[in-house]
Amino acid sequence: MTSALVVPGQPLGPAHAYVPGSGVHVFNGQIVSSLVGQVVTTASTSTSASASTLTSTPPTISVVKPSVAADEEGSSATLLPDVNSEVLCRVTRINARQATVAVFVVNGRVCGDDFQGVIRVQDVRQTEVDRVRIFTSFRPGDIVRAKVISLGDQSNYYLSTAHNSLGVVMANSEAGDPMYPINWREMKSSRTGVVEERKVAKPF
């Protein structure tokens, strides 16, 4: 349900008639666009509400900036990690307390610049937290799927891999060969068969 283009500052309708979505803000009781783009109105699809009560919930209105191509980086240029974002990151250095990573994918979209994050030893896994050791969980160069738990301090986002689906998704062995996961805590080299310890993400 797209329509003509709007510019920032353009009123889109009264605030009581819509639920503000993304790319809009409320000013003086009006929903106002914050972006240049197309207005998208979607009827509310509340799971708890039955079909008869749908009319009582106003539709969501948002402004979407169309991207040059569906999966081009232009659309994700303003992408920032937020709490609960699922990210892909590369381990840059490790020590006994934490693994430092460079985040390069946020919610499935490649970001323009890498964001620095840390996975602290207590955030590596859900159970037996006391027995976790960073050196047997991550190695520099590993690609890790993680979740943002906090925006952190000035330089680091705080990430967690405390879930079955989170952890190392790609890793090379010490000799430099790609490895494949054999269970939730071990990966095996594809060439030499050497087994190394990792906090492995559950494959889909």
Binding site: G9, V32, S34, V36, K65, Q154, Y157
Partner: protein, 334 residues
């Protein structure tokens, strides 16, 4: 010269030598600016504004108003540098930078930013910072970089030349506030173009900020000396003034502002010159109103320019989809 060893570290000049460019003297009695076609004082010059010309940055724009040419690049939101002194930035940090290219004015400028460029940068920051929804971009910075490629500004050189040649110690009356008018037009252009670049970058804003300039002159039909006699002489307000006045009136003051038309808010205001103390407030209000009107005029161009590239993308997507029909063209002139 020839005996000296060639300097290999820097750019060597061509071996056959060059001829320095010779410009018409600006100190002679013919400071005729660009031969602009005459226009009514309440009409701004035509604006050319286009977005998305620099592919390597998040958003960009290019603006031309008669002799003024400038390009704006927007970078970010990108992570803060490691060495950042801010402990935690809950809102995006905006930085603005304005730089005249060395060839931008008739008097060549240096590569290091001078005081007027820093001044323009901080005024641009003030104009934009309130319009950006910075709380949506925590722990990041947004950089706005303006490069002025051509302008009417001559720095303070014009008056200096007049004095140096010993012919006239007193600069001619229309030179008063000349550089303010030139810088005003530059700042207004910077604000308008930076808004277009921010919109092109997809950075969320409360409203687009458009720049407007207006100057007030003593009405040309009046005698110059009458300006001090209260409300006697008429005032002539000119929107988007060129550096030389349209008629023979003495310049009094110039107002530049950044204006958010949808909210009717002024985000930046810069008035320089002299206005009478008795009728000063009324004159100042009128001057600001004129500048607001100029900003409203440029807002029309800004809206269309901001939409133009998106419209192109939408049209392209629709033409790829045979079931849809193409959109309309957008008009670019203001």
């Amino acid at each position: 010269m020839a005996s000296r060893a060639p300097d290999r570290r820097r750019n060597n000049p061509p071996s056959h030598g060059t001829t320095p460019p010779v410009f018409l003297s600006t100190s002679a009695g013919d400071i005729n600016p660009v031969q602009a076609p005459s226009r009514p004082p309440d009409e701004i010059r035509k604006i050319f504004l286009r977005t998305g010309l620099v592919s390597s940055v998040t958003g960009s724009s290019f603006l031309e108003i008669a002799p003024l040419k400038l390009s704006v690049s927007v970078l970010g939101p990108r992570p803060l540098p490691r060495t950042s002194t801010t402990p935690f930035a809950a809102q995006a940090i905006l930085t603005t930078e304005v730089k005249f290219a060395p060839f931008a004015s008739t008097v060549r400028r240096g590569y290091v930013r001078d005081s007027s460029e820093r001044d323009l940068g901080s005024r641009l920051y003030q104009a934009l910072v309130g319009a950006i929804r910075r709380e949506l971009y925590p722990k990041s910075r947004i950089e706005v970089v303006v490069t002025i490629l051509d302008s009417e500004d001559e720095g303070d050189e014009v008056n200096t030349v007049c004095i140096e040649e010993g012919k006239t110690v007193e600069p001619r009356f229309w030179d008063v506030g000349r550089s303010e008018r030139a810088l005003g037009v530059v700042l207004a252009g910077c604000i308008t173009a930076a808004s277009a670049a921010l919109a092109d970058a997809g950075i969320e804003m409360f409203d687009l900020v458009s720049g407007g300039v207006a100057s007030v002159f003593v009405d040309g039909s009046e005698v110059k000396g009458k300006a001090k006699e209260g409300a006697g002489p008429g005032r002539r307000y000119v929107r988007d003034p060129s550096i030389a006045p349209l008629d023979e009136g003495a310049p009094l003051a110039t107002c530049v502002l950044g204006y958010m038309a949808a909210r009717d808010e002024i985000s930046e205001l810069w008035i320089s010159g002299r206005l009478g103390t008795k009728s000063g407030t009324a004159e100042m209000d009128e001057l600001v109103d004129e500048a607001v009107a100029a900003a409203r005029s440029s807002r029309g161009v800004l809206n269309e320019a901001a939409k133009e590239r998106i419209q192109f993308i939408v049209d392209k997507a629709q033409s790829a989809d045979p079931s849809a029909v193409g959109g309309k063209d957008t008009e670019m002139t203001g």
